[in-house]
């Protein structure tokens, strides 16, 4: 556990959106699973925290929810990206790329800005 990272505040929504973009419609468990895998199991994620985040995105209109049937024939609630959600994803991806780039420049070992 010691070398695993907590999910930063506010990044979970972005991860969810990105996951839905890649996988298409997906249920809560699938999204949580995928986020954990994508991080190469370096993130500790309480799967429960995904649900309030999903609800928030639904309330904001970025995703919609619909009951469906999973691949192994289980009833599950599936979440799908909306147009608003795509735009939001695009915008936030850009913001994050810029932020990490700037931070990367500051933190790079030979980051002597000569």
């Amino acid at each position: 556990m010691g070398d695993k990272m907590e999910v930063w505040q506010g990044t979970l929504a972005l991860m969810v959106l990105r996951t839905l973009e890649t996988l298409g419609p997906q249920h809560g468990y699938g999204i949580a699973r995928r986020i954990e895998q994508t991080s190469g199991n370096t993130l500790t994620l309480n799967y429960g925290t995904i649900y309030p985040a999903l609800l928030k995105l639904v309330q904001e209109g970025s995703i919609v929810a619909e009951w469906g049937v999973s691949e192994n024939n289980r009833k599950a609630k599936f979440y799908k990206l909306t147009r608003t959600g795509r735009k939001q994803l695009e915008k936030e991806t850009k913001t994050w790329e810029q932020a990490t780039e700037i931070l990367g420049r500051f933190l790079s070992p030979k980051g002597d800005p000569a």
Binding site: G30, R33, N46, Y47, L55, E60, G61, S70, A76, T84
Partner: protein
């Protein structure tokens, strides 16, 4: 946008449905199943798989709660839940809820009603632009009697020419002109004659047409008149064509030039305003007392303060004192803001009522606090249980506050309705004058009631809440006996009782004093008999000469005397309860004279006909006046007993002469004192001089009948019409009605304070009863134990009596102190009673003590009759 949408959805989420709850459960269920299946596939045992799935989720209930909180707004949701819970709690004990609601309704209702009166008289802005710049200017004597602040015409012109403070300055006086419009019968109006700047002083704009100006006020300008909204509706049916119409006023052709909006009503009740047409040249020489009959108002220049205006008036006064030493030496101008002028006389009464209703509210609050405290004690276990289940102190406190606020809002709602009813009832029963200020439940009043609710809710809610703050969970859950019943709670309750008792004492003393005062005011002999007397006024045109008016009035006198049902008829210049401000100063023949310090000051009255019998004033010595006296240049006069008492204490006044600049008057008779000649019948009786009528055009008739006086009104109208078809009569009233109107305010004050005191007494007794009864119920086991070890029934009863008597005595001591500190505020409202009246205070103590002992004895007796065996077994 996005977050707005989210908030809206969350707000809607406050009304969560069962379906949403099921859906959440289904989603959690499906999540766990998916996870468990995956785990099984990885080779875990079913038990391990389930455990891991739940662990990974972070708990099903926790997740659900986090989800729910995101779904709504937790603060509001909690609030709603507390509200629902509080409502359920209150519905479960309807007796408690109704008692508290009624108690608070009384307190809040009384305060709201009184506040609406205060708001209407003292706080609401006056309906004139920049009303704070308007002042009333008064002229008063440095020593001796003044004429109610009225100013003489020459001194008004002096003010006009010498001041540097006023943007506008105006005088006005009251008239009762007769108006004939087209083919209508002549009618008597309430008129005001004012100088040209009157409208600029009040900043008043007409609804139609125009108002008059200095130009219309010149001596020989054509006659014009401005109508009030009411008179316009009544006489012209609200027809805009009225503007420019010619009517006859005081036998002169007059043009109606304007109509005022219904909001402009100054002076109150005026039908018509006309220019006074005063010219300085006509008044220059004569500066004597007889002309002091003008109301003077001014609007301050923008940069002049009230203080600066005062100084300016003082400078002008001292200049006039030097310029006219013979007449003006002892007179000085002063000023007063319009608001003080209009409402100053109501202030002491309102202050008293405000204090009384405040005390009542405090008593109501303490009562409710005591009830809540008892309730909190019985709910201690419930609170301990909620604590153990994880409720925070904040949540419990908020629960308490919501309950008490809910109660005050019930009480406040009922109270507001009560106040509205009360204000309406009082309003519609008031005669003119007092209802100048239309009190009503308007926005500030409602805001006041709301603030009162919140404040009282916090005040009485904080006590039980504070007490439940530190509850020992262990003992409370285990024991049946609540802790608050312990020593500190009992002491607190005792303190509340003391305060209630003390406040009730203050109210009782006040009420008893006011009742005695009202009794004396209305029951002491008036000096005349108001029953079966009709009065009315006739005002011939001011231009009518003395002979013409003498003929008219003696003819009318004769005709009314011969009407069936009439006993006697007289004429007088002013009736009791009406302050005519006609005062003169006299030297008395044969007494040394000191400059500017007249020997005698008195009210003047002019009489004719058989006035002494018509109004029933006894002749004490000498003779009456005869019609022949009216024609003498220096006629004989009558004085009242007060005059004789003040100025001829050891002499016979008959035959003595009164002297002033207008003549010498021999005293031929002394008549009885009449209350109310200086305005209110509560005022001290002043010396009076009665002159024979000298041909004045305006008179009041006093007709004593042996049939109901209302029945002769039309006969009198007919007689007047026969003598002069152009003449109207006005102010037709019975003397009884006039007297009743004059005591309506003291009656109202007394009624309200008495009602407050009775409610206070009742609440205090209910409070005492409640506290003792509660204490008995709480200590049943202790009583049983005491009896079992040998306490007698008397000793047990004494246990409770002592506790309550101690609180009552403390309260009475405090109440006495408070009474001594505040009761002097009543002084100006009292007639014939001193505020510090020992018998009254003793009576109040007794009135308070007896019921409070009774309220103690009933539950104490119950304590004494407890069966020790049962009390112990009940555990």
């Amino acid at each position: 946008m996005k977050s707005l949408r989210a908030w809206a959805i969350r707000l809607a989420g406050l009304f969560r449905t069962a379906r949403q709850e099921q859906e959440l459960a289904a989603e959690m269920e499906s999540h766990l199943h998916l996870h468990i299946e995956d785990n099984l596939r990885c080779g875990m045992t079913p038990e391990q798989a389930r455990r891991d799935a739940i662990l990974k989720l972070g708990g099903v209930e926790q997740t659900k709660q986090a989800y729910r909180e995101r779904g709504t707004i937790p603060l509001i949701e909690n609030l709603l839940r507390d509200l629902r819970y509080a409502l359920r709690q209150l519905a479960k004990s309807p007796g408690f809820t109704i008692t508290v609601t009624l108690t608070l309704a009384l307190g809040i209702g009384a305060n709201t009603a009184i506040f609406s009166a205060v708001q209407a008289t003292l706080l609401r802005t006056l309906p004139y632009p920049h009303a704070d710049r308007i002042i009333s200017i008064q002229d008063s004597r440095l020593q001796g009697q003044s004429t109610g602040g009225l100013v003489s015409v020459p001194r008004f012109f002096d003010l006009q020419s010498q001041n540097n403070s006023f943007a506008a300055l105006a005088l006005f006086y009251f008239e009762n002109p007769t108006l004939i419009a087209g083919s209508r019968l002549p009618e008597s109006l309430n008129g005001v004659s004012a100088s040209g700047q009157f409208w600029r002083v009040f900043g008043a704009q007409p609804l139609l047409g125009r108002t008059f100006s200095d130009r219309d006020d010149r001596k020989n300008s054509p006659e014009v008149a401005v109508l009030s909204y009411g008179a316009w509706q009544r006489i012209f049916g609200g027809n805009p064509d009225a503007i420019g119409r010619q009517v006859t006023i005081e036998r002169k052709a007059t043009t109606i030039i304007g109509v005022m909006p219904s909001g402009f009503d100054y002076p109150h009740g005026t039908d018509i305003w006309q220019p006074s047409h005063f010219d300085p040249a006509d008044w220059g020489k004569y500066r004597g007392d007889g002309t002091r009959s003008m109301n003077v108002f001014a609007r301050l220049k923008p940069n002049v303060s009230l203080q600066a205006a005062q100084n300016n008036l003082r400078v002008i006064s001292s200049r006039l004192q030097q310029d006219y030493p013979a007449t003006d030496a002892s007179w000085q101008f002063s000023s007063q803001s319009l608001r003080d002028y209009l409402s100053g006389r109501f202030r002491p009464a309102l202050l008293v009522l405000l204090i009384a209703s405040g005390a009542l509210l405090l008593i109501a609050c303490l009562n409710v606090a005591n009830l809540l405290l008892s309730r909190a004690a019985t709910r201690q276990r419930e609170i301990a249980l909620r604590r153990t289940l994880g409720a925070t102190t904040r949540r419990i406190l908020s629960q308490f506050f919501i309950e008490s606020l809910l109660l005050t809002f019930f009480g406040g709602g009922v109270g507001l309705l009560t106040a509205m009813g009360l204000v309406h009832a009082i309003e519609s029963n008031l005669p003119g004058g007092l209802n100048t200020f239309r009190a009503g439940v308007d926005r500030p009043v409602i805001l006041f009631a709301l603030a009162l609710c919140i404040l009282t809710g916090i005040v009485f809610g904080i006590v039980p809440a504070w007490h439940c703050r530190t509850i020992d969970l262990n003992t409370s859950l285990k024991q049946g006996e609540p802790r608050i019943a312990g020593r500190s709670g009992r002491r607190l309750r005792g303190a509340f009782l003391s305060i209630q008792t003390g406040l009730s004492l203050v109210l009782l003393v006040g009420a008893l004093l006011l009742v005695q005062s009202l009794w004396k005011l209305t029951r002491s002999p008036l000096g005349f008999q108001p029953e079966h007397v009709l009065t009315f006024q006739i005002a011939l045109p001011r231009t009518a000469d003395a002979n013409a008016s003498r003929n008219f009035y003696s003819e009318l006198q004769r005709r009314i005397e011969s009407l069936p049902g009439v006993t006697s008829v007289g004429q007088i210049s002013a009736l009791p309860t009406h302050d005519w401000h006609a005062r003169s100063n006299y030297d008395i023949d044969g007494r040394p004279r000191t400059a500017n310090h007249d020997t005698a000051a008195a009210e003047d009255r002019y009489i004719s006909g058989d006035i002494l019998r018509a109004i029933h004033i006894p002749l004490l010595a000498g003779r009456e006046l005869t019609p022949r006296d009216e024609e003498l240049k220096s006629p004989p006069v009558l004085i009242n007993r007060q005059f004789a008492h003040e100025y001829f204490p050891n002499e016979n006044p008959i035959g003595k002469r009164l002297i002033n600049e207008t003549g010498q008057f021999e005293i031929v008779g002394v008549i009885g004192n009449v209350r109310g000649t200086a305005g209110s019948i509560a005022n001290a009786i002043s010396p009076e001089v009665y002159f024979p009528e000298q041909g004045s055009p305006r008179r009041l008739f006093v007709v004593r009948t042996h049939i109901p006086p209302e029945q002769i009104v039309s006969a009198i109208r007919g007689q007047v019409h026969q003598i002069d078809p152009q003449q109207a009569i006005g102010k037709v009233r019975t003397l009884d009605d006039m007297l009743n109107a004059s005591v309506i305010q003291p009656r109202l004050n007394t009624g309200l304070v008495v009602a407050f005191a009775c409610i206070a007494l009742l609440l205090a007794c209910v409070g005492i009863y409640g506290v003792v009864a509660y204490s008995v119920a709480q200590r049943t086991r202790e009583i049983g134990l005491r009896m079992a070890v040998g306490a007698s029934r008397g000793q047990v009863a004494w246990l409770f009596i002592r506790q309550s008597v101690i609180s009552t005595c403390f309260g009475m001591a405090g109440g006495l102190l408070a009474t001594f500190l505040t009761i002097h505020l009543l002084r100006s409202l009292l007639y014939g009673v001193e505020p510090y009246d020992l018998p009254t205070i003793l009576a109040a103590l007794l009135v308070l003590f007896l019921p409070s002992v009774l309220a103690t004895l009933i539950p104490a007796r119950r304590a004494a009759s407890i069966d020790p065996m049962q009390a112990l077994r009940a555990e």
